[in-house]
Amino acid sequence: MSVYSKPITFAILSGVVILIGTFVTLFVPLMLPSTQPVSEYVKPYTAVELEGRDIYIREGCNNCHTQTVRPLITEVARYGEYSKPEEFAYDRPFLWGSRRTGPDLNRVGGKYPDSWHYQHLYDPRSMFPKSNMPAYGWLARRPLDTSYTFKKVSVLGYGYTEDEVKKQLDDYRRKVTSSEYGSKAVRDRVTPPELRGQLTEMDALVAYLQKLGRDVKTVAGSIAAVAEASTTVKNPYEGNKNAIEEGKVLFDSNCKVCHGPEGSGGFGPSLQDSKWKYGGSDFEVFQSISKGRQGGMPNWDVTLGRERIWKVIAYLRTLGGKK
């Protein structure tokens, strides 16, 4: 009597056969703490960030955006430091994704100011005419539902008390509705008047995006070989007509979205005035562009490279700003 004439034995046998690989590659890793290490540097999401994450899940953002930077040179250049396992200790579910119709978001936190995200979610093509991202303006027209927030953080075991959850929500609401809030103008523009005083779904989503990848310290300069050592360095393209033209093209495709046409200002400061926060010497401007500055100026060292940064600076000098 062979197994091919005993259905139950056959079912049990095939069950055993499929469980061998399952045991080794699934159950064993689940039992090993090293599969998903924890780190004291990686903190759980706040109540607002968690609500934002749930909106990210609800809208299926993971269908177009990944959240894992792979340890490949061009990937680290494009997105930032590669992803470490400990960063995902609080991710239930994980959101690594499988397709990059849009860019990876694992290091997007802190890269742009909040105002950038409000405008971009509201109308992506107002900033990038060729983008195919759906517009999510309606998220700003929905108040954030916080009735399950405490239940959620309890299920996830983040250890916040009910009062702490309330305080986190209140604090964040106070931050984004305050007159001091740096991104107030754009937030007010995308949020209907009756919701400007409370948290919207878009507020929570922006909070979540700004948290992504920020707990892991980036290894400064590990890839970026672009640096100018001397503080008295001079722009080799100063006044060079061809370089200025090329610089304008680069400026328009990379910088205009924040600094406005011809540097007239936008999410980023105007480049036509005399108030240059980080100084106006060739060295200082080069540093601002290549390394970025806290609070919203991304680093351009690996995306543009040394030559092209100097060409952009040559163009900037024609705009009438500080020298």
Binding site: Y4, S5, P7, I8, A11, S14, V17, I18, G21, T22, V24, T25, L26, P29, L30, L32, T35, Q36, D54, I57, R58, E59, G60, N62, N63, T68, R70, L72, T74, E75, S83, P85, E87, F88, Y90, R92, P93, F94, G97, S98, T101, P103, R125, F128, K130, S131, N132, M133, A135, Y148, K151, L156, V226, S253, D301, V302, T303, L304, G305, R308
Partner: protein, 469 residues
């Protein structure tokens, strides 16, 4: 031939459920394909790409493919055991439960109730429903097998048993979640573990939904429609056991170069290469079954579907392990190449085999002749052309995308911004839409042909043209 006691109503019910969800799923797919280059089509929250893509994948994988699998399983099971289905009322309940579950699944995904885990997006109440449905199906599978009149179990039955057991394990383990309320839950696994469980599930959903039961159809309906015995019984035994053994190790090839421990990735890719052997075992078995009878490709319209189908399966199972290799995954992963790969499997292999199985089975159970062989041929050429246009375009797009993402200037800086790469993809995405549209027309022809077959008055027809067999 025709045993009146066989329960064919459930076979027919599932077959037409499959066709219905196929059309719904493809319409959603076409809308998505257009959204890629016309973002204005994201008209409402429920039509936005992120929600809609999930309706497309679930609608086709579970609404269409699973219904077709149930339909053919009930048919094959009864024929190969020479026994009517053990519990016909349970089978009827299964049919209704299935369609209610898929309809609720579509509605809930449109509403954004979604766990985010690919191909397991349904929230927990629906998961419970799916498990109940699967238990009902299993009772009938094993009930019928136990009562069977035919002693030996033919190859197709092995594959149906393996699917029944494995899908249950996969679905339950991956969907373990803690509810917050009726519409929201969180996975019990965190981070890298969740990723590992998800792709163990995701890859084996491909293995035990898109491969194993489709092979059951192939091994049953190819010999049936050609009157040729399968070439080698021994080869099918080796291929079966090594396939179901090897599949479960390979999920992590979807997670190459991520923070998942490296050894799991390496084991996964080793077994992926191993899987080429059993996959090609079935391909070779199919080809050799036709030896000396290749003229049937011309004379028997069904053979084209089977042979092209198994050929796409063969290509699919070479392409898959290859693109999982570390150096190639670094280039291809996250690009449109992978989207092309998936669609060769679903539009080529899965749909070709299901089409031919339905063409064989539906006239048989209705005691009628197929309405039009000519239309079946039109259907074949349309879905073949549509699929090739779709997949080849996306492979080219994927190569360009991967190359542009990686291009650097002499000083090491990146040549292209992300948006420049998006903009370069628009022509490809438009051609992909056209490919999908051609394919969809083919499916409409298929549907029309089956509906007309059912409606035809039977063999004493007067008005219609006589059909060739």
């Amino acid at each position: 031939m025709k045993g009146n006691s066989y329960d064919y109503d459930v076979v027919k019910g599932f077959a037409f459920s499959a066709i219905f969800w196929l059309i719904v799923g493809l319409l959603v797919g076409l809308w998505l394909a257009a959204e890629m280059f016309m973002p204005q089509l994201n008209l409402t929250p429920w039509l936005s790409f992120g929600r809609l893509r999930v309706v497309h994948t679930n609608g086709l994988a579970f609404g269409f493919a699973l219904a077709a699998i149930f339909s053919c399983s009930y048919y094959i099971l009864q024929r190969l055991t020479r026994t009517p289905v053990a519990f016909p009322k349970l089978a009827r309940l299964h049919l209704w439960l299935f369609n209610v579950a898929i309809a609720l699944a579509a509605l809930s995904l449109f509403a954004g109730m979604n766990t985010s885990k690919e191909y397991a997006e349904l929230e927990w109440p629906l998961d419970v429903g799916v498990v109940i449905m699967w238990v009902i199906f299993s009772i009938n599978v094993f009930g019928t097998l136990i009562k069977r009149k035919e002693k030996q179990m033919y190859i197709s039955l092995w594959y149906i048993i393996a699917m029944t057991v494995t899908v249950a394990v996969l679905y339950i383990v991956n969907n373990l979640e803690i509810p917050v309320n009726l519409f929201k839950s969180y996975s019990v696994y965190a981070g890298a573990n969740d990723a590992n469980v998800e792709w163990w599930y995701g890859h084996n959903a491909v293995g035990f939904v898109f491969t194993v039961p489709i092979l059951a159809m192939f091994y049953y309906f190819l010999p049936k429609s050609t009157n040729l015995p399968i070439y080698s019984h021994r080869l099918s035994i080796i291929a079966f056991w090594s396939l179901i053994f090897g599949y479960l190790w390979t999920g992590a090839h979807h997670l190459m170069l991520t923070p998942l421990p490296e050894w799991i990735q390496t084991v996964a890719i080793a077994f992926s290469i191993f899987l080429i052997a059993p996959s090609w075992g079935s391909v070779v078995n199919g080809y050799y079954t036709m030896r000396g009878n290749w003229d049937k490709m011309r004379t028997n319209y069904l053979v084209k579907f089977f042979i092209f189908g198994i050929t796409f399966y063969g290509l699919q199972t070479i392409q898959g392990p290859t693109q999982g290799l570390r150096t190639l995954t670094a280039f291809f992963h996250y690009t449109d190449w992978v989207v092309g790969h998936v669609h060769m499997g679903t539009m080529g292999w899965v749909t070709m085999i299901i089409s031919a199985s339905f063409y064989y089975m539906i006239p048989k159970i209705m005691n009628k002749e197929l309405y039009s062989v000519r239309l079946a041929n039109v259907h074949f050429w349309l879905i073949l052309t549509g699929q090739l246009l779709y997949t080849v375009t996306l492979w080219i797009a994927g190569i360009q995308q991967g190359a542009m993402w990686k291009a650097t200037n002499p000083d090491g800086s990146l040549t292209y911004s992300f948006l420049e790469v998006v903009a370069a993809m628009y022509p490809y995405w438009k051609i992909r839409f056209i490919g999908g549209a051609v394919y969809f027309v083919g499916i409409l022809v298929f549907t029309y042909n089956l509906i007309m077959t059912v409606r035809s008055p039977g063999l004493e027809t007067v008005k219609t043209e006589p059909q060739s067999a």
